[in-house]
Amino acid sequence: MSVLVQEQAFEVREQYEQVLSNSPGAALVAFTGYVRDICDYGVVEALELEHYPGMTEKVLDDIGMAAAQRFSLLGWRIVHRFGVLQEGEPIVWVGVAAAHRGEAFAGCQFIMDTLKTRAPFWKKEHLKEGGAIWVASKEQDEQREREWRDSTL
């Protein structure tokens, strides 16, 4: 039931404990996203993440609460970093707990799909060859978010 937006790295065991802190739950699904090593324009050296302080926390909290209600989650936590991250570093961690695994998988996927298009983060890829480019939003991500809106699940 909590959001953490920070520049520093995070300890994965602590995040599991946070998700389970209120209610045990029998199933926990956790997604971690890492800085890719390759992008459409070359080899990635670092990823710069800009965000909108104040709005970010509010949107992530809305998304987590919507997921909790829709999938009967017993616990959830969204961790998202900003600033400059090196290749291979974790960017985002989303963990959800539920009584059954189906709800846990769906709840975690819903949060990720919604966060991608709704949380105010913007990625800029710094290339090994020099130069940097803002990542364009993906039509596939928009499509996934629309599917959740249209679905009755």
Binding site: M55, H80, W134, V135
Partner: protein, 84 residues
């Protein structure tokens, strides 16, 4: 007064992070704000702000550009999000 903030590509293109705009009867909606900024910033600002995929937020919530404003509001303009 309205607080106007810019992020990502839009912040870079305008070379501006934030500005204040007087709240008047001519800045009733977000569309009005875009028109006023385009008029005072010139054709460069107009090109950036009038792009069809610009996202608008009012007090930390994404809204339609026809959204009505109140004195003291915080508005933000940014490109589609790419987090996660």
């Amino acid at each position: 007064m309205l607080k106007v903030r810019f992020f990502s590509l839009i912040r870079e293109a305008l070379d501006c992070e934030e500005l204040n705009l007087e709240f008047t009867t001519e800045t009733v909606t977000i569309d009005d704000v875009k028109r006023r900024l385009s008029a005072q910033g010139g054709v460069d600002w107009q090109d950036v702000l009038m792009q069809p995929n610009v996202v608008h937020a009012l007090n930390h919530r994404v809204v339609d550009s026809s959204q009505a404003l109140s004195d003291g509001d915080e508005i933000a303009f940014f490109p589609p999000m790419t987090g996660g």
